[in-house]
């Protein structure tokens, strides 16, 4: 076996892979949307005065972070039905990956929220704001900029982890490359293309996140 790169084959499979790329982006986007919202809930739940709630959420986050994503994907998809929860690969995949990354994002938020000084809370109290007003108007807007870098890392992270969804049959990029491989017995071109596509999206995304971070800081009038 030598290195036989076939360009005609490459061009032939490219449209199929690009189509699958759209699914990958949708999976990453939907999973990230879930993670962003749920992560905030997990972070805020650890800051309430209710000790029991804080403890349970803390342990939950640790549990999710300490077990492999692929296990969680299998668990939701294969174990769920035994409890009568039957979901499509897409739904299972989004729940699993969203949940997984929400645990990581909650830690990023936690760092951001903790970076807002005690004095800001005291000013909120002195202005007689409710806890809700303090969070939404004062604390969270200041917690976002320091959290953006971490949030961006996990956006790229979730994007790169979407191939794991191929194991339960989500027709994303990796799944399609595997299918092409088993149909044609050629793996070099599809896998190489997958790598190139991931690179072509991840690299600019990381740069974009840095620009966005600067933009948000400036927009909020922060240094």
């Amino acid at each position: 076996m030598g290195f036989h790169w076939k360009w005609d084959f490459t061009w032939e499979i490219l449209p199929r892979l690009l189509e699958a790329t759209l699914n990958t982006l949708i999976a990453a986007g939907a999973g990230y949307a879930i993670a962003i919202v749920l992560g905030l809930v997990l972070a805020l739940a650890q800051r309430t005065p209710y000790r029991a709630l804080t403890f349970v959420v803390r342990e939950f986050v640790e549990f999710i972070r300490s077990t492999p994503l692929i296990l969680q994907i299998f668990f939701v998809f294969y174990v769920g039905p035994q409890f009568g929860v039957r979901m499509s690969p897409w739904t299972s995949g989004m729940i699993a990956i969203g949940l997984h990354y929400s645990a990581y994002l909650s830690e990023v938020y936690r760092g951001g929220l903790n970076s807002v000084g005690k004095g800001q809370w005291e000013a909120c109290t002195a202005l007689n704001m409710s806890t809700r007003q303090a969070y939404t108007r004062i604390i969270i807007p200041q917690a976002v900029p320091p959290a953006l870098a971490g949030m961006g890392n996990y956006l790229v992270g979730i994007f790169k982890d979407t191939p794991m969804l191929s194991v339960i049959g989500v027709a994303e990029l990796m799944h399609t490359a595997n299918a092409i491989g088993s149909e044609s017995y050629r793996f070099l071109e599809p896998y190489t293309l997958v790598g190139v596509i991931f690179l072509a999206i991840s690299l600019p995304a990381a740069g974009f996140i840095r620009v966005f971070e600067t933009y948000v800081r400036r927009k909020l009038g922060l240094k």
Binding site: G119, A126, P141
Partner: protein
């Protein structure tokens, strides 16, 4: 447990003080920061609290702003209990709702300003009136601009705090607190974090307030000259209680207690 029946449900009579501390004790663990403090501040009175660090003077303001809970005693504001509320004819610790109702009468300025860095000077001032008082934006803008004008910061109203000097930030913070129309204003070492050359711009604003407005004020400061000029009364705190209090001329000119004398001469030497 403390016997709460010794405290009235509310203050009655002709001469209700704006603020009354009644047997107020504050502890951090085993350390007693304030020991059975009794202090009245009359309506419109300007009281300045002085004393060495660790004497509990800042705690007095922080308890009144409900930033600290108290261990014993009751604080009354305008005759009504602040730290407690009435339930079935007895005083019980205040609920968050009661605190929110009572807190609206009190405003505070901090040593480190604590302006909201993501908002302009004007937005800082409008935030409370719009969000908390439910005022319309136009109305809040008008009120805030008037106050920024009062503190000499109207020109900088669209600047974020990071673009303002310490003195300017503190003046905005004063306007922000006043925008809530409190009955009692608390100034907690508002000049301590400032460069010497800008202290005057802040003390002048406070001086103005004292002269032109009938606000009740409690202030903690290290600016003895300033305190002497504008206060109706000075309280010297030592070791968690009031060692000596009186009119500024008397306390600074002829202190009775040895600790007061020592403190004042130490301050004078430090210049």
């Amino acid at each position: 447990m403390e016997d709460m029946s010794q405290y009235p449900l509310e203050l009655t009579g002709d001469d209700i003080p704006m603020v009354r501390f009644m047997n107020v004790t504050k502890r951090y663990g085993k350390l007693t920061v304030l020991d059975r403090l009794n202090l009245d501040v009359a309506t419109g009175e300007m009281v300045t609290v002085i004393g060495p660090s660790g004497s509990g003077k800042t705690t007095v303001l922080r308890m009144l702003m409900t930033l600290e809970t108290i261990n014993e005693g009751v604080i009354y504001v305008d005759g009504k209990p602040l730290t407690h509320m009435e339930k079935n004819g007895a005083l019980v610790p205040a609920s968050p709702k009661h605190l929110r109702m009572m807190r609206s009468q009190i405003g505070m300025c901090f040593q480190h300003f604590n302006l909201f860095p993501h908002m302009t000077a004007l937005e800082n001032c409008m935030e409370g009136p719009v969000q908390v008082l439910g005022m319309s934006k136009q109305e809040a803008r008008k009120r805030s601009e008037d106050l920024l004008d009062l503190v000499g910061m109207i020109e900088k109203k669209d600047q974020h705090p990071s673009r303002l000097s310490g003195g300017q930030q503190q003046r905005v913070a004063i306007a922000r607190a006043l925008a809530m129309r409190p009955k009692v204003m608390l100034f907690d070492e508002v000049t301590s974090a400032l460069d010497p050359e800008v202290i005057g711009e802040v003390t002048n604003v406070i001086r103005d307030l004292v002269n032109k407005h009938n606000l009740t004020m409690l202030m903690v400061t290290h600016q003895m000259g300033f305190a002497k000029d504008i206060s109706d009364r000075i309280c010297f705190f030592f070791d968690g209680s009031i060692e000596e209090q009186g009119a500024p001329d008397a306390l600074f000119g002829n202190p009775q207690r040895e600790r007061t004398q020592q403190f004042l001469s130490a301050v004078k030497e430090a210049g």
